[in-house]
Structures are given as C-alpha cells and as structure tokens.
C-alpha cells in the first residue's frame, strides 16, 4: 500500500481561535432550535474550522420544522489556505475533520428526510477552485449530491 507522506510546514500565522467552541465543546450544548418551529431559514457563520456547535444546533431540528427551507453555512476565507493534499485530516486535525464529517452526514440527512436545502455560502470572492476543493474534502457527501452552491 502506498502511503503518501508530506512534511507540512508549521507556520506562526494569525488564525482565529474559537473560544466559543472550547466552551461549547466542554458543555456539549449549542442553540436549541427544537421550539423554533416557525424558522424559515438559518445561517451559521463560522469563525473557525470547528463546526461542532453547528451540528449540535441542527440536531435539534426535526419534522416539526415544516417551514425551514434553507440552512446556510458561511465559510471563512482562510479555508482556501488549507492543504487538502495528501490528507486534509493531517492539515486540520482528526478531531476537527470528524466534526465536519458529522455535519456532512447531518446536512444530507436533513435534506433527504425533510427537504431542508443546505448551502455553503461565503461573503468573500475569488479562489473558487481552492474553496471548492476544500469543501469537497470537508463535506464529501454534500458535494457528491451537488448540494454545495458556494454562493458568493
């Protein structure tokens, strides 16, 4: 079996840490949307690569949310600077990658079970290929089903 290895540079650069996620990670809590049954659309704007808080919030969405038609994930621009090759798990860490996998699974589930359309959006422009590659690795099932719009 060929095992790809790559030395990844360790750089001291400015990135946003996620104090909220540290907090949420400890308490395993997030927004409880179970009673918000009139919701029509939800936007989660990410301040870091950690998405556990989004998954936790979306786990409270169910069949009672009949008006909910769109869930948007607003991704930060520094996603385009992540090494996706050879293995994005090395780049972002196994734990963070697992959070994205959980989110991917849940978004597909919400789409297939409740017809709630997920979309990945951004408030910045350019680097289309880089962001497409990265999201393809982070949300493979959504990408495979053509559910990633990458709206600008």
């Amino acid at each position: 079996m060929l095992v790809a290895t790559r030395v990844v540079r360790s750089l001291d650069i400015r990135v946003y840490t996620d104090n909220l996620l540290r907090f949420l990670g400890q308490s395993r809590s997030s927004f409880n949307l179970s009673k918000a049954t009139k919701l029509g659309d939800v936007v989660f704007r990410l301040g870091s690569l950690r998405v556990e808080w989004v998954t936790l919030a979306l786990q409270t969405v169910g069949h009672n949310h009949r008006d909910l038609r769109r869930i948007s994930i607003d991704v930060p621009s520094y996603l385009t600077r992540i090494h996706v090759d050879p293995d994005i798990r090395v780049a972002i860490g196994e734990g963070t990658f697992g959070q994205w996998s959980d989110l991917d699974y849940l978004l597909v589930h919400l789409w297939e079970s409740y017809s709630i359309r997920p979309s990945v959006i951004r408030t910045w422009t350019g680097r289309n290929k880089a962001i497409g590659d990265c999201i393809g690795f982070l949300l493979p099932e959504m990408m495979k089903r053509g559910m990633v719009d990458l709206d600008e």
Binding site: I13, T17, L20, N32, L33, Y78
Partner: protein
C-alpha cells in the same frame, strides 16, 4: 393640470419615488405638487457631517416650516448635529420619523449623552433603531429604546473594542421596565458586539412582557457571552422565523500546521 383631482396628481408623484431629479422638477410645477414631492424628496435625511447640518439649517432656518415632518428615516452621525445650541428645536421637528440611525465613530460619549436626551420620545412612531458606536453610555441606550412604544426592530453594532462607558445598574433598569408602554419587540434584533453582548441580552431577557423577535442576527466575540445568546434564541423560539448566528473569536496567535502562509 389644475383640473386634475389631487389624488391623481399624488399618484403620479408617488410613481417617481426614488428618482430625485424628476421629483425636484415636479416640486417646481405648482404649489399643489410641493407637499407630495416633499414626502419623497425628504423621506430619508442624513446628517453625517457638519456640512450636511449647516446646509439644512441654511436652507430651512425655521424648523416648524422645514420639510423635517416628511422624514420617515433620520440618520445622525456627527456630534455637532446634536450638541449645537439649537439642536433640540430642529430635532423635535422630525416628529414622524419611523427609522432612526445614530452613531458612527464621530459620535463621542458626550455626543451620545446629548443625543439620547434629545431623541428621547422625539417621534412617537419610531419602529426601528439602528445604533453604531465606538463608546456608548450603556444605560442611556436602554433608556432610549424603551421610550418608543412602537419599536420593533433594533440593531446594535460595535465593531471596536471601545465599548460601554458606564456601569450596569440593574435596579434602575427594573424600575424602568415597569412602564406601561414598553415596546413589544416583535421585529428583528441584530447584535454585532465586541463588548457588552451579555449585558444587553440579559436586559432583553428580563423584559416583563417578554420579547417576540421574528428575526435574530447575532454576532459575538467572547465566550462568556455565549450562554446569554443561546438563552435569547430560546426565548424567541416561538416567534422566530429567521436566525443568523456568527461565531467569532477574540483572535490570538497560534500556529496551525495546515495553513499556508
């Protein structure tokens, strides 16, 4: 033209809403056209610089006859707008404003104090308040938003680390919210706060009549603000139609092996 019914003339002018030059031309056609054109020409008034203010005063020296009464939206961002000797007179003329915007980095602490005094109940029909500040007297802000019984939409933006400059007086707040005309807050709430998120959400949560916001856009920067933000969402759950949450952070230097330089 003078034989046409006024309703028809008004309708013609209404169709030009947003087209400044045609509206100006219409206002010169006849006296019967002036009032209607003014409702559109002066529907939004912005005072962001001293030049804006001086120009207004020069053109309309008498506030009682100025077109201020046509304004539905008023935006004020410069301290001299509110600290001038005659500020009270002309602000009072904007008595039909529904959307009020205050703030900007130009408005200093003194400016805020004066502004809150001047704008307190200046228009009974205010439905929307938007505040953008660098240094805000916190308690005064709460005082002003409770002064408008029809208020539905609140926007508070503080993108800087300068923040609330006075203390938290919960006792004073508790007395204030006993007023019979507290707004129902059934529209939208947008909070983008580097400081004071917890304080402000706690105040909304403590309103005796509750809050019924249909739209929430919440952006916070400190982990200690998370629990009150979650509580705010939960409180509005029965009426909530749109939710936009932005998880930011304080920003520290860390090395991350997976990112290109």
């Amino acid at each position: 033209m003078s034989n046409l019914p006024q309703e028809l003339l008004d309708h013609i002018v209404d169709l030009l809403h947003g087209s400044q030059t045609p509206l100006r031309n219409c206002s010169l056609v006849s006296k019967s056209w002036v009032a209607r054109t003014r409702t559109h020409l002066f529907s939004e008034v912005h005072f962001q610089t001293t030049e804006n203010l001086e120009s207004w005063k020069k053109t309309f020296p008498d506030p009682s006859t100025s077109p201020a009464r046509y304004a539905k939206a008023l935006s004020v961002g410069h301290p001299r707008v509110v600290t001038g000797a005659d500020a009270g007179r002309w602000i009072a003329a904007f008595s039909r404003v529904e959307r009020l915007e205050l703030g900007g980095r130009e408005l200093n602490a003194r400016g805020w104090e004066v502004a809150f005094a001047l704008f307190h109940k200046f228009s009974p029909v205010v439905k929307s308040i938007r505040m953008r500040w660098s240094s805000l007297p916190f308690s005064r802000f709460l005082y002003i938003i409770l002064a408008f019984p029809l208020l539905e939409d609140v926007t508070m933006i503080n993108c800087h680390n300068e923040a609330l400059i006075d203390g938290d007086d919960f006792e004073w707040w508790s007395t204030l919210v006993q007023s019979p005309n507290i707004p129902t807050f059934a529209g939208s709430l947008e909070l983008l706060l580097r400081e004071g998120m917890g304080l402000i959400t706690d105040r909304f949560l403590s309103l005796p009549n509750g809050i019924r916001f249909r739209k929430l856009a919440l952006s916070w920067f400190r982990e200690e603000d998370v629990s009150s933000t979650m509580a705010l969402v939960e409180k509005c759950s029965p009426t909530l139609e749109s939710l936009d949450v932005s998880c930011n952070s304080c920003g520290t230097f860390t090395g991350h092996p997976g990112l290109h330089g």
